[in-house]
Symmetry: C2
Subunit: 176 residues, 2 copies
């Protein structure tokens, strides 16, 4: 098995990305503190052809050195918009027909292991590293989904759990 | 939907983790440069009850402030061992009956979207952020798996792709 070189991977250029059909996914970042996480979410979003990222509250925005460090340029391919109020964004998306899914542990969350995420279009809402998605935002969502955990920690890193969520969605909806 | 508080999540203590049955998974880190990635891999491994992490080459080891920052204590629950030579570890694991799966883009990689990762026990090998898994290590593996990407970037962040890989494995093998 021979490792492939970069040029053999045949990825899209930024221009090709911009003009390509996107996946029926938008993502809302509700007060994400770490620029590393924001950048990492951009990078993962690029791979899944996410339609748009909404950066809300005190979530940092490009251009920013710390975002670029983990986005490695994906902040230039994936469309994004800064909106101060997360509530305003989710209300707008609901009106536009998006199914609103918060990644959060609540008393009524669906377990990602048991549920089928086949909603199109979907808006995934990701929350702060410590406090999660705001309760006022959850109150406007159609459902919450949680990724089960067997160990000692209370949560996954938000950028890692976003990867798992998108992978599950992509496989379910045959995005590849 | 009401957000759960930390004490409602009923996670294991470190002592309970240590004495609990583990998942049939070990993970080999082949020269991971970023302590943030190492810590994040510890945190994800905790959630999936990974048996053991092998930290190889110049991969950093606990105790280290930067690892703790992203592992948030999971470096105390998940068993780990430092071994300088990655090749030595994979040879040892092969003798012990592990199926060796490198996460790497090669000319003969299985696409995670099409293949069924039902090998037990399994050893996942993760590589350096720039150079990936060493060719000399790949030469000793049973297979390579790659996660498809539709965008402009050549790879996922290693800690994020590890999350996707484990989630896929957990769902396939009903670890939850």
């Amino acid at each position: 098995m021979r490792k492939l070189r970069t040029h053999e991977l045949a990825r899209k250029s930024v221009e090709q990305f911009k003009s390509s059909k996107k996946s029926p996914i938008v993502v809302v970042l509700d007060n994400i503190r770490s620029m590393n996480n924001v950048g990492s979410i951009f990078r993962t979003s690029d791979a899944f052809m996410v339609e748009k990222l909404y950066l809300c509250g005190f979530t940092g925005t490009p251009p920013h050195r710390e975002i670029t460090k983990t986005a490695i340029g994906a902040e230039n391919s994936v469309e994004w918009e800064y909106v101060e109020s997360t509530e305003e964004v989710v209300e707008r998306l609901k009106k536009e027909g998006y199914h609103l899914v918060a990644l959060e542990q609540t008393d009524a969350s669906d377990n990602l292991n048991d549920c089928t995420l086949d909603f199109k279009p979907v808006a995934f809402i990701l929350g702060n590293e410590i406090d999660g998605v705001s309760q006022t935002v959850i109150d406007k969502c159609d459902r919450c989904v949680e990724i089960p955990q067997l160990g000692t920690k209370h949560s996954f890193n938000v950028a890692v759990s976003y990867g798992m969520l998108l992978w599950d969605y992509a496989k379910t909806n045959k995005l590849f």
